[in-house]
């Protein structure tokens, strides 16, 4: 199949940004900067890959930023609690990781079950759980910050900062997630079902697809990825608070949209999402490196890009129909 303009558009924009960045500042292409950009993209990126499935199936999840903060909070509490018994070792950290990942799956299940079983709009459900998770982490931290024990933090640190040469673990995890996501969307029955449901859930139902179950699984997959990204996020700062992961949900949704996945569902592009994530973090990075435009205008430029991406895709679609 030949690549169409929908896929190429964001890619061209990404390449243009890289060229622009390189022209503006020679430090842009330095390995340290690239590692930095990619590693910071990884959290949103992994979440955005999960979000691609949810949106493609015709859903939405606004709770992921709060969920990440909440998972980071309970993972830290679990590790601190296990420390006296298990000591300062990987066993304790594995417990924290397990809590984050299982908690993520459970939170995704909660969202998905409310949407598919109780038949409440995804927007409403996840707006509600967004507030709940955010409030819970603030309450657990008693309004302040939950900090991981200092010794454990030192042990855990390499999970974010370490890696294979310049390629740190978050980058590896992001890449693996992207490859797996792309494979699932393109080559598995689940991916096919997700696209079918988002395209027309009645047709899916009349094709013997268990629509509720597939939708539920998309939210659980997203929850799992939020958990995984939390596992990588905690060693970065070693703490969680009420302001952790703020606006991550919107960045993830924006990346999905920029990447060419239709917000109404039916057409999922995992590679596009990856490109979308990179575009968003490159804009941020370029503004910080070059003093052409104030970094305070970052949000405005990202906003323009999001609207532009959607407008361009829509025009192409009507052109197709003629």
């Amino acid at each position: 199949m030949k690549p169409d303009l929908h896929t190429l558009g964001p890619l061209i924009a990404l390449i243009a940004l890289i060229v622009l960045g390189a022209l503006l500042n020679s430090a842009f292409l330095a390995p340290a900067n690239i590692t930095n950009v990619l590693a910071r993209s990884a959290f949103i990126g992994m979440i955005a890959v999960g979000m691609t499935f949810v949106i493609t199936a015709g859903g939405l999840d606004l709770s992921v930023g709060s969920m990440a903060a909440f998972l980071a909070g309970i993972a830290i509490i679990a590790m601190n609690a296990a420390l006296p018994g298990l000591g300062e070792n990987w066993g304790t950290i594995l417990i924290g990781m397990g809590v984050a990942i299982l908690g993520g799956i459970a939170a995704g299940f909660l969202n998905g079950a409310l949407i598919t079983k109780a038949r409440i709009e995804p927007f409403i459900v996840t707006l509600g759980t967004m507030g709940i998770f955010r409030s819970l982490v603030t309450w657990l931290a008693d309004g302040g910050t939950l900090s991981l024990d200092y010794g454990l933090r030192t042990l855990y640190r390499p999970v974010y900062y370490g890696g294979i040469g310049w390629v740190t673990w978050p980058i590896i995890a992001f890449a693996l997630t992207a490859f797996a996501g792309e494979w699932i969307m393109r080559h598995s029955r689940f991916g096919r079902h997700v696209e079918a449901i988002g395209s027309n859930d009645r047709v899916a139902r009349y094709s013997a697809i268990d629509v509720g179950r597939v939708r539920l699984l998309t939210y659980m997959l997203l929850g799992l990825l939020v958990g995984l990204s939390t596992v990588l996020y905690v060693p970065r700062l070693g703490s969680a608070s009420g302001s952790t992961g703020v606006l991550w949900e919107l960045e993830a949704i924006a990346a999905v949209i920029i990447g060419g996945t239709a917000l109404k569902g039916g057409r999922g592009r995992v590679w596009g999402t990856v490109v979308g994530v990179l575009i968003l973090s490159l804009i941020d990075n370029i503004l910080n490196l070059a003093d052409l435009v104030s970094p305070y205008l970052n949000g405005a430029i990202q906003g323009v890009i999001i609207v532009l991406a959607v407008v361009l895709q829509r025009e192409k679609r009507t052109a197709d129909e003629r």
């Binding site: 199949m1 080559h187 598995s188 029955r189 096919r192 079902h193 696209e195 079918a196 395209s199 027309n200 009645r202 047709v203 899916a204 139902r205 009349y206 094709s207 013997a208 697809i209 268990d210 039916g266 057409r267």
Partner: protein, 494 residues
């Protein structure tokens, strides 16, 4: 003096002519009934009169002068109002707000008082007790219909076009509707009344026009036609070898239903489908045919006993039905059958993906399946990579048939096999259906086209109000007999 008339009107959609040289006149103070089978062209006439379609040939005459409406609102401005079967009301607004929707009196501030007063006057004229302040969502269906009529009157309707107004009403509510129609008639409104119910046509109409295959076959004044005459005029067409020869079903039962009910829709249906048989199910739209089919295959919850090849089976969902060798081809090709924005392959294999791999879907095998299906069912796709929505209706239907047949079902229920497709493709699909039966599969074909059911089926069951009203076989398989059973008209043809 005729208000609105069609003179020599023909209408074609592409190569297909749906109306041919139709003359029709609506006079003030008269109810003109328009009857005909599904597909006879009634709705096309309504759309042309209401300004939603232009005739290909012929004229629309308003007060004797030729007119051309470019849109529904333009026709409405001339006092021609269509009341659609699906009401055109905003459920969350009040009755008064709906009546004046789009033409609200007042300047910056709406003149609520005038709206309420005028609405109350209109409702009083219709002799109803609806309050102008009630929300539409709190009204019963017949009351909503009254609001539609009030809305039409507020637009100074001189011509009212009603599409099956009684279809949504209960027996008692129909009485109220008749009273309102009498009142409108006395007021000098010209009414075009489309209906399936011959008894009400005989009761209401001053004038009757019978359509068949897009032509006016009979026009009569009140009292000149009996219900039997109407039924005979509506049907009565020669069946040529448009249909494949009938088959020889084996006596073995393939599917056996005992007391199948779908709550509120289908009541206590028992039937037996034999191996190699094409069993037709006829009946009016809304008689429970689709609901019966969906009840059998687990798309609706149903009670009763289902036996496949003599074995009792439990079907809770469509997957269970597939596992028992059943398949269902939906009547709603665009909304339940195909993913119009997806490729042909994705559509073909959607219901049978496990066959193409447990984890990784074998896309080469899928492509081969498509090649096989396009050949077997003669799907004409200019480009195999195109999306299903760009296929013609006939090719979409063939693709849907191929999708339904992919899991190799032994019992296939086909709901409206040829809706909205051209004559040539119809004949092909009939041949496919007969071939499937000759191969030893068993089929149920649900259709609103009497000729199709008779031409295709070995035996026909007629449904009426959620029950089997009767069975016709052999020489008794005539449109006349089926129409009688479907409409509950007793007695023999003249």
């Amino acid at each position: 003096m005729t208000v609105l008339a069609l003179h020599g009107v023909s209408k074609s959609f592409g190569p297909i002519e749906v109306l041919h040289d139709v003359d029709l006149a609506l006079d003030p103070g008269q109810v003109h009934a328009l009857i005909g089978e599904n597909g006879a062209g009634k709705s096309t006439i309504m759309k042309i009169l209401g300004g939603f379609l232009d005739p290909t040939e012929g004229q629309i005459l308003l007060d004797g002068k030729p007119v051309r409406f470019s849109s529904g609102p333009e026709a409405e401005a001339q006092g021609i109002v269509v009341i659609h079967q699906e009401f055109n009301l905003a459920a969350d607004l009040s009755v008064a707000a709906n009546v004046f929707l789009g033409r609200e009196p007042g300047g910056l501030r709406l003149d609520h008082k005038a709206m309420r007063r005028d609405t109350a006057a209109l409702l009083a004229r219709l002799d109803t007790r609806i309050s102008p302040d009630t929300l539409i969502r709190d009204l019963s269906v017949p009351d909503r219909q009254m609001v539609e009529i009030a809305k039409a009157l507020s637009r100074n309707a001189r011509v009212l076009i009603m599409d099956e107004p009684s279809a949504v009403l209960t027996h008692r509510e129909v009485g109220t509707l008749y009273d309102q129609i009498d009142r409108l008639r006395a007021d000098g409104v010209a009414i075009l009344y489309c209906s399936h119910r011959l008894d009400e046509v005989a009761h209401l109409a001053d004038r009757i026009t019978v359509l068949r295959d897009g032509r006016v076959v009979r026009q009569a004044m009140r009292g000149e036609m009996t219900e039997d005459d109407m039924a005979a005029a509506m049907v009565g067409r020669e069946l040529q070898d448009f249909y494949p020869p009938k088959g020889r079903p084996s006596p073995d039962p393939a599917l056996d239903l005992q007391g199948l009910s779908v709550p509120g829709r289908v009541h206590d249906v028992s039937l037996t489908l034999h191996r190699g048989e094409v069993l037709g199910i006829a009946g009016l739209v809304g008689s429970g045919r689709t609901e019966l089919a969906e009840g059998i295959v687990g798309l609706r919850s149903a009670t009763g006993e289902i036996r496949v090849n003599g074995q009792k089976v439990a079907i809770r969902n469509l997957r269970d039905a597939f596992d028992s060798g059943l398949a269902y081809l939906t009547e709603d090709r665009k909304e339940a059958g195909l993913l119009l924005d997806k490729g042909l392959t994705q559509n073909l294999t959607l219901a049978d993906l496990p066959r193409f791999g447990l984890w990784r879907l074998d896309q080469r095998a899928e492509t081969e399946a498509l090649a096989h299906a396009t050949q077997e069912f003669d799907i004409r796709a200019p480009d195999p990579a195109m999306i299903a929505g760009k296929l013609s209706g006939g090719n979409q239907q063939k693709l849907l048939l191929a999708k339904t047949m992919l899991p190799d079902p032994q019992i296939i229920i086909i709901d409206e096999p040829t809706r909205g497709i051209d004559v040539g493709t119809k004949q092909q699909i009939y041949a496919f259906i007969r071939r499937l039966a000759d191969e030893g599969r068993s089929l149920i074909v649900i259709s609103s086209e009497m000729a199709e059911v008779i031409g295709l089926a070995d035996r026909v069951l007629v449904m009426r109000e959620g029950r089997i009203a009767g069975e016709v076989t052999g020489k008794d398989m005539t449109e006349d007999k089926i129409v009688r059973l479907a409409m509950g008209v007793s007695g023999e043809a003249a």
